[in-house]
Symmetry: none
Subunit: 225 residues, 2 copies
DNA sequence: CCAAATCTTTATAAAATCTTTACAACTTTA
DNA sequence: TAAAGTTGTAAAGATTTTATAAAGATTTGG
């Protein structure tokens, strides 16, 4: 489950069911509405990341529903419609729809279009943040924190630290670390590693003499916890 | 003329001509490329607001062209293709295309889809006033203030400053900054960056010798706070 | 066209980082 | 537990990277 919620708005039960299964099996969180009124209430109460909107609703014209939603809802809306007339398509897009798919559509294409609009609507919300006890590593902004305090690392120290973090729990061999950080021709320069591990421990361990994060596996390599 | 520039990439002269007329009569500024190489050069030299990309180019596979563009080009790309297979559509959308239209398409729909992607791409970078301590940046009027006083920046200085502001907190690499500000062929001219960073610091830092806003990440790049 | 502004290039100083050395401390193994 | 092998640490030296000023080249605006 990637925690992205999608609201399906369609009056036909079979289509809702089909969409529900498709989306859920692709790790989306799904909610449903079968008419315009319900759709607007649900969207308002618990705004989803994306709305799939059928234009042919029983209680209100789909274009009106779209306009009402767009008065305040800024996230993507994809139209699903049985009508393929240019007039409908242009009107929907100009009313703020992000995409328009004509029924029947191919599920692969629907999923790709969902990924596409979600991608471009994604501002900066998710920065992959790794947490290890009192240590945080933000990969996108390249920031390491210890107890909320930013720790200043040189580029080599950061490369080593992030590599250890990305493989937390695993033992990384000297050979592997040297190859990844310094390159294949440095695989025998174990002393580099010792110097940099010591520097890292000084910066991130409470007591560098009794490390709890960077563990030595004698004769093999290091492990990050 | 609304000053929005669109780059048409298609090898067929008739289609280019048709698109040119359609777009120009709808107040877009239009440039053209008839092959992959030319397209990439044009997009790099003078990045348009949107690219219409035909997948069937003579000199290179369209999907590859799309990938190459997406390495650095962040604005919308709409694919125009004679192929309607689900495989092509999904692949293009997952490679970063914002929309996919199958030829022959209706011009009204094309224009509506152009408006749609331009609209959502505009939403992203519109946060009128950015504030960072004693610094203000108004993106729409291009005005920078330090303690209410307007700071006069040259266009290159402004480009650099606003790029840093828009990514505050993150480390931006030399490579990235050079590519964004000066273009892909300047990625090794690190000295430019040093000169302009120094000029910016003179203008916006209280003490340029002890910068608090533009932070050097040695060996990597710069970070704005 | 000229003058001012801006950008590019060069030179050099300063700072930060990396590499190497020497030796101390720890682990493993017999 | 002693010897051998491995790892840790500090600090000096070497190298790389960055900062800055200023001169030359180019562009821009009047």
């Amino acid at each position: 489950m990637n925690n992205v919620e999608i609201l399906i708005v369609d009056d036909e039960v079979q289509i809702r069911k089909m969409l529900f299964i498709t989306l859920q099996s692709n790790a989306y969180k799904v909610s449903e509405a079968s008419n315009a009124k319900d759709a607007i209430i649900r969207a308002a109460n618990h705004p989803p990341e994306l709305i799939l909107l059928d234009l042919g609703l029983p209680d209100e014209n789909g274009h009106i529903v779209l306009q009402k939603l767009r008065e305040w809802y800024t996230k993507p809306i994809i139209i699903l419609s049985a009508h393929s007339s240019e007039e409908d398509i242009v009107k929907a897009l100009d009313n703020g729809a992000n995409d328009y798919l004509v029924k029947p559509f191919r599920t692969g294409e629907l999923l790709a279009r969902i990924r596409s609009v979600l991608r471009s609507s994604k501002l900066e919300d998710e920065s992959p943040l790794l947490k290890f006890g009192d240590l945080d590593l933000d990969l996108s902004s390249r920031i390491v924190r210890k107890k909320e305090e930013v720790v200043k690392l040189t580029s080599t120290e950061y490369a080593l630290f992030s590599l250890l973090c990305k493989n937390d729990g695993k033992v990384l061999t000297h050979h592997y670390l040297l190859k990844q950080i310094w390159g294949p021709s440095y695989v025998n320069e174990s002393q580099y590693l010792r110097v940099f591990i010591a520097q890292l421990r000084k910066k991130i361990e409470d007591d560098p003499n009794r490390p709890t994060h960077i563990i030595t596996e004698s004769g093999v390599g290091y492990r990050f916890l």
